[in-house]
Symmetry: C2
Subunit: 297 residues, 2 copies
Amino acid sequence: MEKEDKKILIVGLGLLGMSLAMAFRKTGIQVMGFNRHRDAVEYGIREGILLPESEEMLETLLAKADVVFLALPIPATVEFLEKYAGCFKKGAVVTDLNSTKSAFMNKAEEVLPPQNVFYVGSHPMAGTEKSGYENAFETLYDNADVFICAADFEAPEVRIIEELWQSISCKTVRITKEKHDNLVARTSHVAHILASALTISVLGYEDKFDNFAGCAGGFRDTSRTASSNPVMWKEIIENNRDAVLKAMDYFECEYSKFRKIIEENRFDDFEHEFAIGRNLREEWLQYMENKKGNKKK
Amino acid sequence: MEKEDKKILIVGLGLLGMSLAMAFRKTGIQVMGFNRHRDAVEYGIREGILLPESEEMLETLLAKADVVFLALPIPATVEFLEKYAGCFKKGAVVTDLNSTKSAFMNKAEEVLPPQNVFYVGSHPMAGTEKSGYENAFETLYDNADVFICAADFEAPEVRIIEELWQSISCKTVRITKEKHDNLVARTSHVAHILASALTISVLGYEDKFDNFAGCAGGFRDTSRTASSNPVMWKEIIENNRDAVLKAMDYFECEYSKFRKIIEENRFDDFEHEFAIGRNLREEWLQYMENKKGNKKK
């Protein structure tokens, strides 16, 4: 089956879903799209992002789709699979874009196999603190790493999903769902908790006007993810509770080291520790740069 | 004394000092500049940012300057005041750009008064994680709040410094040095410690390649200030130790609240708490927007 022959359906046309449709359009592929609120579908068809047949009923779209991307909140994804498991085309490959994988994929694997549908978990490391199709843009996924989780990496369906991500300039990384969840708890989920706790501790007390004036670019960036959607983040943290608590232990270990150094007036150690953080971050920035460079070649 | 008549000298032509000279030049004022490494001075003169007389000896420049901005690291500022207190022009107004005020201004007030020089503390809430004149740019201070600390706010010299900041589109905010130090510990210094501790806890363990792939825009922003200069941040934290520890208490209080909520599976409370952070941050962003709007009028 050639990529061009496959009919793709994106369910959920918010920031992630609509941006994905835009990214496919940029490569010359128009996809079908479904969204509960119809304004997103109308917008997508009007702008030539979605195929006109996106106006059809969900069941009709599902029956035609060879590949389905579920770009829904976590609980809605589970509900969707439970409700529509019987509507997928036989042999379809289904994937999601969710930030946690274990709890969710266990459910997917429980509901789907009897329907002869193959499930692959995707997690593109892309997003902003905004949501909604109004904030979608076609370069959201450019150069993004996409984690791929599957019960069996040897299955040909895994390659189909990987190639689709690669076609919009993403880099796919295979990982077990357990390892994935521990990883994103550390790289993303804890950062959101820190941003929110910092914001409240900085702006929520004492003289509001002075607090406002005392915040500049450093605060703006460190706190950015505190502006993310509270409902979505509740769902993510809830679905990844144990890994998040473990990741918080990691963070607290480093944080306590800094606190002890300051309490004990060991400021040369502070400089040393801070330099370790800077070097690690520079190494990561270099990795990100190289990825862009490799793509251009 | 009209603003235009005053001779201004900036000592230290790194990111902050050179950007300040550029900002003054944009308003039509050319200033004198001094830097220990001469390449910055040569660059400034060649680009028309600095007056050609900046080539002269430091003692000559100090004898001519009505207003001196010290844009040096904290220990270097103290050393400078100790060494050159006798070289300032009689009646000169001296200010600094340092991030902490108490420890430092106590020293300045001890060294300077007998020389008939007036000292005002400035702290512009502007900067990037970069340093050096190569990274300077003329809009660094645009719309920035600048905290002004003085032993006596009634002194006319305070107005001179305030008007100079206002002339480059900054908003000045008067504050006691003690209150200032507590404030910036919360709004800035703790954020740097969090960014560094997060970076190490995310990138410093387990599989480096997976860690790199697992970091995206959220991590990039939350960790940005971890790329700041370790020597500078050692000096800042050392000079503001007590206020930083107090600010860490504030942060820890909020962070522990989040941790407890997750441990006790109270995810509706998580959503509520996260929404508080988001609302506070949106209010602050609105404050920043209004400031820009007011300036344009």
